[in-house]
Structure formats: C-alpha cells, structure tokens
C-alpha cells in the first residue's frame, strides 16, 4: 500500500491535464492547414511604418497563373511592360479562389518581368526568356486601400535591375484606372489572359 494525500493526487491530475491540453494545442497548431488560419490580409508581404511595400520575397514558389508577353519589338521598341510578365498569386488566396472564384481580401499578385533573350531555339522561332528586368505587385486590401477603386493598389519596384527595396503605391491613374476600365467585371484582374485562373474557378469544374 502507498499513501498519497489529496494534494498529491490533485498534482497528478494537474500534470495529466496539462500534458493533454498541451498536446491538443500543439497538435492542433501543427496539423491545422494554412488555409484554415485566419485570413490575415496580405500576410505574405510586408509594409514599412509609412505604408511602403517592401519587395516581396519567396513569390517564385507561389502559384503561377500565367505569362503574357509584350515584346519591345512589337511596341515601337519600348513596351509599357517589358517583356515577359510571369504572374504569381499567394497560395492562400489561390486556395480561396479555387473554392469561390473570388479574389479574397488580402490577395497578392506578383508580376515578374523578364526580357526576351532569344528569338530562335531548337523548338522553333519565337520568344525565349532572357534576364529578369522588373517586378510589380497588386494587392487587394479593403482596409489599407479603402479609398482605391476595387480596394486594389499597385506597386512597381522598377523595370530594370537593381530593383527598389520598397515603394509607395502608384497613383490611381497609373495602374488602377486601366484595370478598372478594362477588367472591372473580373475584380480588376485581367483573368481573360490567364487560363490557369479560368480553369481554377469553381464554375469551370
């Protein structure tokens, strides 16, 4: 026989409860998928204290949605967006888009620009990517950009390297107005040029 006073038993129960509780919390946090986390608007990018956007990082592992091409040689030698535009969406917002067909509050789109490096290869004549030349970002945020049309703000880190480390949002007239005028029906995004987006929307499944 072993004698334990009530305090000892209470202590044992407390230990069990703490371990069980801790397990629940830790396991819960570990297995909870990222998409089930609270939707932190634009969680994948950072802003400075005065509201400038820091250059996004890690976006080459986000979800690729398409590559329009506006070569300089088809735009009087200097395209507005030279030249390949590889566009990525943050994975959490893409997951939301797959379910709803909507760009959620906090959606981040990154457009990485690269030059035309070659116009002929063993696969044929055409346009082949050269070097990275620029980086732009569009962010939908109904709080931070509550006065922007559609809540979208646009940022350009430049069209030649080295890129800027942080930038203020562009004036409405410089980007937003064109998106509003030409892509207003698809929430300011030119979805018609992105088959990945069209295929991912629920209505197409």
């Amino acid at each position: 026989m072993l004698r334990l006073n009530r305090t000892s038993v209470t202590a044992w129960i407390a230990v069990v409860a703490v371990i069980a509780g801790l397990s629940y919390v830790l396991i819960g946090a570990a297995v909870r998928p990222a998409s089930a986390q609270p939707n932190a608007p634009a969680a994948r990018v950072e802003f400075t204290a005065d509201g400038k956007l820091k250059q996004p990082v890690g976006y080459r592992k986000w979800v690729y949605i398409g590559t329009p091409l506006t070569p300089n040689d088809m735009n009087d030698g200097e395209a507005s967006f030279p030249e390949f535009h590889s566009v990525y969406m943050d994975p959490e917002s893409f997951a939301h888009y797959e379910k709803t067909g909507k760009f959620r509050d906090g959606t981040v789109l990154v457009k990485e620009l690269s030059s035309v490096g070659s116009k002929e290869a063993p696969s044929g004549k055409g346009y082949f990517q050269g070097e990275f030349t620029g980086l732009e970002t569009a962010i939908k945020d109904s709080k931070r950009f509550k006065d922007e049309p559609g809540y979208w703000a646009y940022f350009s880190f430049g069209h030649k390297y080295p890129l800027k480390a942080e930038v203020a949002k562009g004036a409405v007239a410089s980007c937003n107005q064109c998106h509003a005028d030409n892509a207003g029906k698809t929430d300011w995004v030119f979805s018609q040029y992105y088959p990945v987006l069209r295929a991912a929307a629920p209505k197409s499944k």
Copy 2:
C-alpha cells in the same frame, strides 16, 4: 488523506506516459516537413503496370520555371510545340536544385501548352494566353530509364484536348536526341531559357 495502492499510481504514470508518447508521435508526424521525407524518385507521378505514365495531376501548384513561346504565326502556321510552354518542376526536386544546381534522380518537369488567345491587350501588342492545348512531361530516373541518354524519358499527352490519360515514353529520336544534342551540358534541360532556374542555382547566389 486518500489511500491509493501501488497499482493505482502505476496506472496514473502509465496514462501520463501514453499521452506524452502519443503527443510526441503525433506532433512529430505533423510538423515534419515534406522535404525531410525520403526522396522517392518521381514520387509526384504514377505509372501503369506496363510502364505508361499517367497524366500528372496537381502540377499547377508545383514550382513554375518559365514560359518559352513558339507561336504558330512564326513557325509556318504550325509550331512543333504550339504555343506557350509553361514549365513546372516538382517542389522536392526544385529544393534539391536550389541546394546543388543539379537535377536529382526523380526530377519531374511538366510542360503545359496553351494557345495564343489574343495579340493585343491594354498592356500593349504581343501574345496573350488563350486555352490549354497540350501537356508533356520529362522525367529523370536512373533505374526506370537506365537505357535512355541522361536517364531522361519524355512523354506527350497530346497537343490538343482531350489529352490522353496515359502514354508510353517517346522514342529516343523524338525528344531525347534533341535535348542531348542541344542541352547536354546542362543535363538535358534547356536551362538557358529559364531565368528562374539560373537564379535558383547555388552558384548564382
């Protein structure tokens, strides 16, 4: 005072041990990153019993590496690979490439083809993606394809929809020879047309 016999205490200790052990196992399994799993060659694709490759799935969330374009209108009306070629690499092999600059055994590259949908947009004149038209895959596997040059095998699911559900590897002459002849120095991959690959290789950092 409360009386407990030795068995009761042992039972309590056992409960605590089981909960703690279970926590360790569950948390360990949950937080272990995918990249720490054993590298199963070509784990992201499946083959039939007779060695045909099943159509890859989920690749639009792999790592995008670039988009060459060979438009029909620049290739006598019918390009060998019509027209946009968006190329993806499986994430585990990309992580290996970032560390080593090498295509590991088991690397899977998926090339998704899409048509030219428009040649003018608000962003300028150029080429804009239309509809998905085709799907091809290249796989490096020193066991399964030990007789192929460079251990790479190439598969085409077709250049128009509906795509084939499963396909045998192409003859060496149809793909591999051209890759060997023109990209032999970069392990059969045309890295020169993919700035994402060049930027990801360790030597460029």
